[in-house]
């Protein structure tokens, strides 16, 4: 890691056309420490009215912490925040909102069981300190929504809305306070290709009206498209800043990571005839609330390939993955696993599938995949309970487990104190590496990988992709679920697209384009 002092604000000014007057927001020497971690280290930042600034950096670089301080969610330990020339101290997000700063969070801060109107009214004294007054809210916020071209139903519960609609509610809630500074944290993570232009148009419109916009995103295409200026953070410091014009994606990557990353090469697919590993026939899967998540899905995963499953979050991919990995029973249809010893016709649960040679890298490891308060050995054992080496008729062989885990930790370069280290003490990247070690250790024939690189730093992402390619070389069939088309394009051989529970494809990557697939992700 390069150890440079934070870039001073004076070195980080936008082009001359903006620099007139004073900055709307000036952050000076702001520091925040959590325990032993320095999340923000004497950060300087200036934002002028009307400009769109992109904040880049790996996970853990301190971007969200900095934005949370600006938006009043966290109080800085040192330094000052100056808004329009006056120093401000925010005791709560309400103060920041009253001062004209609004933030749209990556993980929406909406209450699912409340209506749209109630969510907008929450915490905003304009709509009543005692009894709530919804009529004025409907009028004013409705007018705002119309001006922005948004359709909004005030009386629907938020958890009944699609993800894109929920984001619109979040944005509306923030914009209804008429902020002078709008902060967007990973806004395109949940949008389809077709919805992004609408968001960018809104940002440009706000900027044209004099609102300052800060956008945090790891999607470099979005940054290149919308921002005039980028600021790069690493290890809690601002390490680089530059105007966007003339930069390429590779330039941005170099600014973030500090060096060029090795290219992950897919390698040519052999022309040898392929055999099926997993055949899915007319699978229909239901949700707990009675609706159908997946409708009549059919495809085949072949030997020695990576099949990318694309789609915007919430279109049934999670349910499909859960059914294929034995966690969820489908309503109808069947899955034929062409694995040695697989009984025909019977539904196989996760343990049975693992014994046959299938493994599953879960989408949300915290929810399903790991036991955070337990040591690595327990986490490794979690999916190997059926292994005779570990479990002899119900009795656990602790020593064998420990040595196997030590080997796995070394092989996958997991930074941990030892096999008995507690899982929650590992960083996110290392936790995921252990999950990979655990799943890939038994040389599985089928790998189901759901968002395996989500939330990881760039180096670990490259490592994960390398491991998946290695498994492919060994003859495994990998079903790779990812919302990031760029990731899929890098390593997949074929893609299949999921929209509203229905599958389209598979189609060889060579026979289509990113734009076409992106388009499929939004049409019926």
């Amino acid at each position: 890691m390069i150890s440079r002092p934070s870039v001073k604000a004076s070195e980080n000014r936008p082009a001359a056309e903006f620099a007139a007057g004073r900055p709307l927001l000036a952050v000076r020497g702001v520091t925040k420490v959590f325990g032993a971690t320095v999340a923000s280290d004497a950060v300087d930042l200036e934002v002028w009215p009307g400009e769109i600034v992109g904040i880049l950096g790996e996970n853990g670089a301190g971007k969200s912490t900095l934005m949370n301080m600006i938006a009043g969610l966290i109080a800085p330990d040192a330094g000052e925040i100056v808004l329009d020339g006056e120093g401000v101290v925010f005791a709560s997000p309400r103060d920041a909102a009253a001062a004209g700063i609004g933030m749209v969070h990556q993980h929406f801060k909406l209450i699912g069981s409340l209506t749209v109107a109630e969510n907008i009214a929450l915490g905003d004294p304009r709509w009543g300190r005692g009894v709530l007054r919804f009529e004025p809210l409907r009028r004013e916020v409705g007018a705002l929504a119309a001006a922005l071209g948004m359709a909004v139903d005030f009386d629907r519960r938020v958890d009944e809305l699609a993800v894109g609609e929920q984001q619109r509610v979040e944005i509306l809630k923030v914009l209804s306070r008429r902020p002078r500074l709008l902060i967007l944290d990973e806004p395109t993570a949940v949008l389809t290709q077709d919805e992004r232009p609408g968001l960018f148009r809104m940002m440009a419109e706000l900027a044209a009206r004099g609102t300052a916009v800060i956008i945090i995103s790891h999607k470099l295409e979005d940054i290149l498209e919308t921002c005039k200026r980028v600021v790069v953070m690493r290890g809690g410091r601002v390490v680089d800043a530059a105007p966007v014009s003339g930069r390429s994606r590779a330039d941005l990557v170099r600014m973030i990571v500090g060096e060029n990353l090795p290219n992950v090469s897919r390698g040519a697919k052999a022309d040898a005839p392929s055999a099926p590993l997993m055949t899915v026939e007319a699978l229909t899967i239901g949700r707990p609330n009675g609706t159908r998540a997946v409708e009549g899905a059919s495809f085949t995963l072949m030997f020695r390939e990576i099949l990318g499953l694309c789609g915007v979050d919430g279109n049934g991919q999670s349910e499909l993955i859960h059914a294929l990995s034995g966690m969820l029973r489908p309503l109808s249809g069947r899955v034929v696993y062409h694995l040695e010893g697989a009984p025909a016709g019977a539904w196989l649960d996760a343990a049975a599938l693992r014994r046959l040679g299938l493994c599953h890298i879960p989408e949300d490891r915290h929810r399903h995949g790991i036991l955070s308060g337990f040591p690595l050995t327990a986490n490794y054992l979690l999916t190997h309970l059926g292994l005779r080496d570990f479990n002899r008729s119900g009795w656990l062989r602790q020593r064998t487990i420990r040595s196997r885990v030590t080997e796995a930790v070394a092989a996958f370069e997991v930074k941990a104190a030892g096999p008995q280290a507690i899982m929650s003490h590992l960083s996110g990247g290392n936790q995921q590496k252990l999950v990979l070690a655990r799943e890939l250790a038994a040389a599985p024939r089928i790998v189901i990988a759901a968002h395996p690189t989500r939330g990881l730093d760039i180096r670990t992402i490259a490592f994960v992709k390398q491991q998946l390619l290695r498994m492919r070389e060994g003859g495994a069939g990998i079903l790779l679920l990812s919302a990031d088309l760029a990731d899929i394009w890098e390593i997949a051989d074929r893609v299949v697209v999921m929209t509203n529970g229905r599958l389209r494809g598979p189609v060889a990557v060579a026979d289509t384009t990113l734009q076409e697939v992106g388009h499929w992700m939004t049409t019926q």
Binding site: P93, F108, G112, L122, V131, L132
Partner: protein, 325 residues
């Protein structure tokens, strides 16, 4: 069946339900805010004792009520400290409260009014003038002790506050998604603490009702599971105040019925009738599918992103910083 018998049954049912009713209404508020307090049984017991004590000392049942509420708030403050501020396990903290309630009430009783039998001033029924004369429903609904009207009024007010006021919206928000509420600028910790205190006050009131409006005596261990039945009422009433009170009335009716069954069917061992309300609670829990009504953040500790609690908390933190820690 004789109409007079029915009227007696229903009137008795309402009379027997309000101890559970008060506690259940308080627990509704606490759980809507995301904090579960299984210790209301202990708070009710302490409230019952303090009500008897206060009534004897002041000569008026209202004195007993006041003391019981104070005691309920004090005990609930302990739960608030552990569950909300220290973010410890809410169930275990509640269990401690049950045990403490047992101990404090029993210990206090034997040291004070338990020494010799004593007359406890209690609530008489308060007929609401002409309303009480309406045939059939008059004696049932409008000829009860003052506290019964208080319970009904409280339920109505709570229902209104939860649905139509900013405070109610905030309470619902912190029970569903405290981090979103935090981001909206709401002080989750202090709101939850207040909700817990309210729950304790109501549980204390419920215990007071038991001692000085229903049984008119204090006997050690007299709550006999009503506090837990109150929690079942909250689930059965889907965390909505009016429904919760209705659930409590259902239990009161079951209790009134079971008492009468003992005299009507003397051949059946009375213990089987005594069991009825408890079995009813189990059945109610099985069949009230929790579904989507349970506050999503119930029982989960929440760590706010910034300090809260205002000046008092700030002063306490500065004092703590000076201790050898």
């Amino acid at each position: 069946m004789d109409v007079g018998l029915l009227i007696g049954l229903f009137a008795s049912g309402i009379r027997l339900s309000m101890a559970i009713g008060f506690a259940a209404l308080g627990e509704t508020v606490s759980q809507r805010a995301g904090v579960i307090n299984v210790g209301i049984e202990g708070i009710m017991l302490l409230g019952a004792f303090l009500a008897a004590l206060g009534a004897v000392w002041t000569g008026s049942p209202w004195g007993g009520v006041a003391l019981a509420i104070l005691g309920g708030v004090a005990l609930a403050a302990i739960h608030g400290l552990f569950a909300v501020v220290l973010r410890a396990d809410q169930i275990v903290s509640g269990i401690a409260l049950v045990v403490l309630g047992l101990g404090l009430s029993g210990f206090g009783y034997r040291l004070t009014i338990g020494a010799a039998p004593v007359e406890i001033p209690s609530f008489q029924s308060l007929p609401l003038g002409p309303l009480a004369k309406i045939p059939f429903i008059g004696p049932i609904l409008f000829d009860q002790a003052a506290l019964v009207y208080l319970a009904a009024g409280t339920a109505v007010i709570l229902a209104f506050v939860l649905r139509r006021t900013a405070l109610g919206l905030e309470l619902r928000a912190i029970g569903e998604n405290p981090s979103a509420a935090d981001a909206a600028g709401i002080d989750v910790t202090s709101r939850r603490f207040l909700a817990v205190l309210f729950g304790g006050a109501m549980a204390g009131l419920g215990g007071a009702y038991l001692a000085i409006a229903q049984i008119n005596a204090f006997v050690e261990n007299m709550v006999l599971g009503r506090g837990f039945i109150a929690i079942a009422c909250v689930v059965f009433g889907r965390w909505q105040p009016l429904r919760v009170l209705a659930a409590a009335v259902a239990f009161g009716l079951a209790e009134a019925a079971q008492i009468r069954f003992q005299t009507w069917y003397p051949k059946v061992p009375y213990q089987f009738f005594v069991m009825l309300p408890y079995v009813l609670a189990v059945v109610a829990l099985i069949f009230s599918a929790r579904g989507s009504a349970v506050p999503r953040a119930l029982g989960k500790p929440f760590a706010p992103s910034r300090k809260s609690g205002g000046r008092a908390y700030g002063a306490a933190m500065r004092l703590r910083a000076r201790l050898p820690l």
